[in-house]
Point group: C2
Chain length 258, copies 2
Amino acid sequence: MSSPLHILVSNDDGIDAPGIYALVMELRKIAEVTVVAPDKQQSAVGHAITVNYPLRAVPFRKNNEFFGYAVEGTPADAVKLGVRFLMKTKPHIVISGINHGSNTAINIIYSGTVSAATEGTILGIPSIAVSLTTYKEADFSYAAKFAARLALLVAEKGLPDRTLLNVNIPAVPENQMRGVMITRQGKSTWDDTFDVRRDPANREYFWLTGNMNVIDTDPDVDQIAIRNLYISVTPIHYDLTDGQMLEAMKGWALEKLR
Amino acid sequence: MSSPLHILVSNDDGIDAPGIYALVMELRKIAEVTVVAPDKQQSAVGHAITVNYPLRAVPFRKNNEFFGYAVEGTPADAVKLGVRFLMKTKPHIVISGINHGSNTAINIIYSGTVSAATEGTILGIPSIAVSLTTYKEADFSYAAKFAARLALLVAEKGLPDRTLLNVNIPAVPENQMRGVMITRQGKSTWDDTFDVRRDPANREYFWLTGNMNVIDTDPDVDQIAIRNLYISVTPIHYDLTDGQMLEAMKGWALEKLR
């Protein structure tokens, strides 16, 4: 690396969230850090980008000093705007997080945290998504330290084109963690239900709820590794072609459908 | 199949778009059809779902008769609400489209059309996303016919768990199409730029623009097949684990990062 390490940080919990603050404070010890993040919480936005509306970015201050740019948009918007417009040079690494809550199994598809890192990867930058696996009040300090160490390793090793790392860290004290595991994305999905309610004008509305239906049992699956108190590091990519099905479909005689 | 074919149709262009209308009219010839679609255009929403706001669904009429349910939400919301709440029985197939514009290469990641079909797959239903590859005024009739024939084939053959079909149809007269090709997702991405403007109050804002930077050349890539006037059928899945990288990372000694 010819110039000092420069890291772009984003998230989906919004620029004022405690997870991004802990991450930035830790990363500033090892790198120049630019923060470009949504101005407000953007959970479950998937890989949304804003094409039909304008984006805005305003300086955001914290502790009476400039902290980063707050973008009225999605996590992917923030990373795109950061890399393509706000930053003078391309960052060496993009880190998204630290998310307050896990991003494992099917949730990777819905995750705004992962989406910001995916956008970094699309832009040709090694990228990492980091989540702390609790929805309760949490201490992000160990997760931030781990993220910083992993950033240095990724800066050294690089990542393949179109591959990013999805990291989940158990929300337990450091001495209770059992190790770091390279994992696979789990297959579990949600048993969605819709809570039916009535607004003050007596119109029906629905609120999405439900439980994760955990079907995996293998220890090297992201969700199970977390349950077993391992830090989970999953290499993911967005080459979505199903090669096996592609071969199988050659027997389908699709030409007959014309 | 024990009961008559029942198809759930959604899209991302909104329930009033001409593409979904053409598709529904054609599918009604072969199946019972339920339409649950966003109430307005939702392009580039990726796999967003609504978790922090309530959803609403209202009956939508077209030509003085009930056409389907208009959902204030994303394409994935519409499919989830349709399958989990509005429909009495699970549909046999979910079809999303017909999108007005192509969904190939990196655009698959951003696509609301593909997202609706992905949600169908997550819910365990064989699903198909269909796009007509033009942004100009278009005739959806041939694409709708092809989608209906493919739906019948998928009803017969089934699809593997977690695999869906992403179909793109060239916007040319039927006699100019050269065939149907089973394709791979292309690797092309966007050369994004942000157009900087000032609003009436002189505040800066940004508008995303740019061109697709086509890097693929192989004839069996979605984008290239379309260019060569083939109907492109890509089997895609959302098992995002990068197996090759997973093996490579075993040499990274991640345990040392603790």
